[in-house]
C-alpha cells in the first residue's frame, strides 16, 4: 500500500470522509450535492488561502475570512497529511484563520497528494526547518468526539461534527 492509500485508510478509520479529486473544480459538484442531501443552505465559507484559488461555483454563495460561528460549512487548506495516523496538519497564518478548524459543523480540508508523508518524523523536521513556528500548528485526526459519558464515543462534541478531506492530484 502506498502512502496516499494508507492516509485515506487511516483517516477514514478516524471517522473522516475522504474524496479524491484531480483538481479543485471537481470538488464543486460534490459539495453542491452534499448540501442538497443534507438540506444545507448553499453557503460556503473559505479561508483566504482557498478563496484565492477557488474556481467559479455559481450554485454556492461564497464568503471568506475568519468566522464568528455562524458559518456552518468552512473550508481550509492543509499544510501536510500524515499517513500512519490519518492526521492533517494545518498552520495558522493570515491565509489560514484557525477558527475555521473548530467552529463550523462541517469542516472541509483540501490537501495535495504530494503533501502526504509517511509518519510524524518528517513533520518535526519540516517544522524545525521553518524556524519560528506559526501561532498554531493544528494536528487534526478526524471530527470532534468525546467518550466522557459511559465510554461511548459520540461525534461533534464541540468542534466539527463532520470532517471532509479532499485529496487533490
Amino acid at each position: 500500500m502506498n502512502t496516499v492509500e494508507r492516509f485515506i485508510e487511516t483517516l477514514t478509520a478516524n471517522a473522516a470522509h475522504v474524496s479524491c479529486i484531480r483538481q479543485l473544480d471537481e470538488a464543486i459538484p460534490l459539495i453542491e450535492r452534499f448540501m442538497q442531501e443534507k438540506a444545507l443552505p448553499p453557503r460556503l465559507h473559505l479561508s483566504p488561502a482557498l478563496q484565492r484559488e477557488w474556481p467559479v461555483s455559481n450554485g454556492i454563495t461564497l464568503s471568506h475570512g475568519t468566522t464568528d460561528g455562524t458559518h456552518k460549512l468552512c473550508a481550509s487548506r492543509a499544510w501536510a497529511g500524515i499517513a500512519d495516523t490519518g492526521t492533517l496538519v494545518l498552520l495558522s497564518g493570515p491565509d489560514n484563520p484557525t477558527r475555521l478548524n473548530f467552529l463550523p459543523d462541517y469542516h472541509l480540508v483540501f490537501l495535495r497528494k504530494d503533501q502526504i508523508v509517511a509518519d510524524k518524523k518528517a513533520i518535526w523536521q519540516k517544522l524545525e526547518q521553518q524556524g519560528a513556528l506559526p501561532r498554531a500548528v493544528n494536528f487534526i485526526s478526524g471530527p470532534s468526539r468525546t467518550a466522557d459519558i459511559e465510554q461511548t464515543i459520540a461525534l461533534g462534541a464541540h468542534g466539527p461534527r463532520f470532517l471532509w478531506v479532499f485529496v487533490e492530484g
Binding site: 493570515p94 484563520p97 518524523k121 523536521q125 513556528l133 500548528v137 493544528n138 485526526s141
Partner: protein, 474 residues
C-alpha cells in the same frame, strides 16, 4: 458521603464498594479503557521501542529543567507570549486572578487542566466573583455536580448517563426533551457551551507539553474544547507544571506516540495543537495575550529526591485503569486530586506525608501499574519507599507497628519461626469453613467482609519436607 481527605481512604473505599451505581460505572470504564489500549498497542510494530524513545526524551528534559525553562521563556517571549513562574498553588491562582482583573474579565472558559485542580483555581476565581465554565464534557458534568474529577483523563467516569441527564435537567432550563441517548446529552452540552465559548473574556487551558526550542505549548484533546478555549477569547492563560518541558519538537513527538495509545487507545487524539504566542499582527484570529504559568509546587525538590522518576508521568491514566484498587473503589475514595497508583505516589509528595501517608498502602503491589506505564515509572518501588517513610516517621498505627515489630523479632529467629509455622499449619486446620477452602479467622471481620483467606492444603509444610529430604540424603 465520601470525604475529600486522603487520610479517609479506608472509610471512603468502604462506602465506594457499597455504591452500586459507582460499581456499574467502574466496571464499564475498566473494560472500555483496557480493551482500547490493548488494541492500539497491538497495531504498533514495537511499542517497547516507542516507550524507550518517550522515556529518553523525558529524561533528557528532567536532567536539564532550569536551562530548558529559561530557553522556553526566551522563545515564548520572542513569539510575544509571557512566562510566569509560580512556586506555590496560591502563587498560580494569584497570577491568574491578576490577569483576569487587569482585563476586567467576567466569563472564563476552561479546558481540562489537572494543574488547576491541584491549585483549586476554580474556587479562587469563583470567590473573586468570576463566572468559570469548564468546557471538557466530563469536567463540565462534574462542575454541575460540584464534585472533583474521579479520573485524570475521564473526570466523570463515575457518572452514568441517567445521572448526567438528571444534572442537565436540573441546570439547563430547556423544558421537556429527550435525554435518553448519549448523543442528545452531548448535543445539549455543545449548545450550552458554544454560547460561553463565544462570550468568554479569558480562556484557561492546561498543557500536555512545553517545548523549549520553540516556546510552544501543546494541548491534546478529542473534543476540540481546548482549541476553542485557547483561540476564541482575547486572553489565553496556560496552567502547566515544570515537568511538562521537553527539549524540542521531536522529543514532544516521542511522547505523543505513547500518550494517546496509553490513555484512550488512539494513535493520535482528534486534536493535538502546538500554540506559540498570541495572535500575530497579520492574522485574522487568535488571542491578544498569551500567558504560560509554570507551577513548581515542590517539584524542584522531588527532582532532587529518590522520587524523581515520578516526574516522568505524562498523566495518561493507564495505571489507574489497570489498578485493582482503583477499579474497585474509583477516584473519589482517594480524597486527593490525583488518584490511583500515580496519585498514591504524588499526593504524599505534593501535600506532605502527614496528609497522604495512607495512600501508598492502597496497593496490592501486583505490579500492573509499572507494567503498563509508558514512561517506565517504577510505581510499586516508589509506593514501597513511601511506606518505609510512613513507618520511619511513625505515621502508621500502633497496632500495625506492634505486628511489624513482632514479625521482625520472629523472622530473625529461625527456631521460633519454624515453631510458629508449625503451630499455624496446625491451627488453620481448625479454622476452615464448611467448604474446606476458606479460613474463618476470629477477630478478622474487617478482612473477611470483602475478601477470602484461602486455606492451606493438608500437605506437609515446605520446610519440614525439605528437612526430611536432607536427612534422607546419604
Amino acid at each position: 458521603m465520601i470525604q475529600r481527605d486522603a487520610r479517609q481512604f479506608i472509610p471512603n473505599s468502604e462506602q465506594a464498594l457499597q455504591d452500586t451505581t459507582l460499581q456499574t460505572a467502574l466496571a464499564r470504564a475498566k473494560s472500555g479503557f483496557l480493551g482500547k489500549r490493548r488494541k492500539a498497542i497491538a497495531l504498533v510494530d514495537d511499542f517497547e521501542f516507542l516507550k524507550q524513545q518517550a522515556q529518553a526524551a523525558k529524561q533528557r528534559a528532567l536532567d536539564n529543567i532550569p536551562a530548558l525553562l529559561d530557553q522556553f521563556e526566551h522563545n515564548l517571549n520572542a513569539a510575544g507570549g509571557q512566562l510566569h513562574r509560580a512556586a506555590t498553588p496560591d502563587d498560580l491562582n494569584r497570577i491568574v486572578l491578576d490577569i483576569c482583573q487587569r482585563r476586567q474579565a467576567k466569563i472564563i472558559t476552561k479546558g481540562k487542566s489537572m494543574v488547576s485542580e491541584e491549585t483549586h483555581l476554580n474556587t479562587a476565581l469563583e470567590q473573586a466573583g468570576l463566572d468559570v465554565v469548564e468546557t471538557d464534557l466530563g469536567e463540565y458534568i462534574i462542575q454541575l455536580a460540584k464534585e472533583p474529577p474521579s479520573h485524570i483523563i475521564a473526570p466523570a467516569v463515575h457518572k452514568t448517563r441517567q445521572a448526567v441527564a438528571e444534572l442537565f435537567r436540573h441546570h439547563h432550563a430547556l423544558g421537556e426533551r429527550d435525554l435518553n441517548e448519549i448523543s442528545n446529552l452531548v448535543e445539549e452540552a455543545r449548545q450550552m457551551l458554544r454560547q460561553r465559548f463565544l462570550a468568554a473574556d479569558v480562556g484557561i487551558t492546561g498543557a500536555n507539553l512545553l517545548v523549549a526550542s520553540t516556546g510552544s505549548i501543546a494541548i491534546v484533546t478529542n473534543e476540540g474544547n481546548g482549541d476553542l478555549t485557547a483561540t476564541l477569547p482575547p486572553v489565553h492563560i496556560v496552567t502547566a507544571s515544570l515537568e511538562k518541558l521537553v527539549e524540542n519538537l521531536e522529543d514532544a513527538g516521542a511522547i505523543l506516540e505513547v500518550l494517546g495509545r496509553s490513555a484512550t487507545g488512539q494513535a493520535m487524539s482528534a486534536y493535538t495543537t502546538f500554540f506559540t504566542g498570541p495572535k500575530r499582527p497579520s492574522e485574522l484570529d487568535g488571542p491578544e495575550e498569551m500567558h504560560v504559568i509554570v507551577l513548581d509546587n515542590g517539584r524542584s525538590d522531588i527532582l532532587q529526591s529518590e522520587f524523581a522518576a515520578m516526574l516522568r508521568c505524562i498523566r495518561c491514566g493507564a495505571c489507574l485503569n489497570h489498578c485493582p484498587v482503583y477499579s474497585n473503589v474509583g477516584g473519589h475514595a482517594y480524597g486527593s486530586v490525583y488518584p490511583g497508583p500515580m496519585g498514591s505516589v504524588l499526593t504524599p509528595l505534593l501535600e506532605g506525608l502527614n496528609q497522604g501517608h495512607v495512600l501508598p498502602n492502597a496497593s496490592t503491589f501486583c505490579g500492573r501499574c509499572a507494567e503498563v506505564c509508558p514512561m517506565g515509572i517504577p510505581l510499586p518501588d516508589l509506593l514501597r519507599k513511601l511506606r518505609e517513610q510512613e513507618h520511619r516517621q511513625q505515621l502508621d498505627s500502633t497496632g500495625w507497628r506492634m505486628v511489624l515489630r513482632f514479625y521482625s523479632w520472629l523472622a530473625t529467629r529461625p527456631r521460633w519461626f519454624h515453631l510458629a509455622m508449625r503451630a499455624i499449619t496446625f491451627t488453620q486446620r481448625l479454622l476452615r469453613d464448611a467448604s474446606g477452602t476458606r479460613l474463618r479467622v476470629p477477630f478478622s471481620n474487617g478482612w473477611n467482609r470483602q475478601r477470602e483467606l484461602p486455606a492451606a492444603p493438608d500437605a506437609t509444610p515446605f520446610l519440614q519436607q525439605w528437612q526430611k529430604q536432607q536427612e534422607r540424603k546419604p
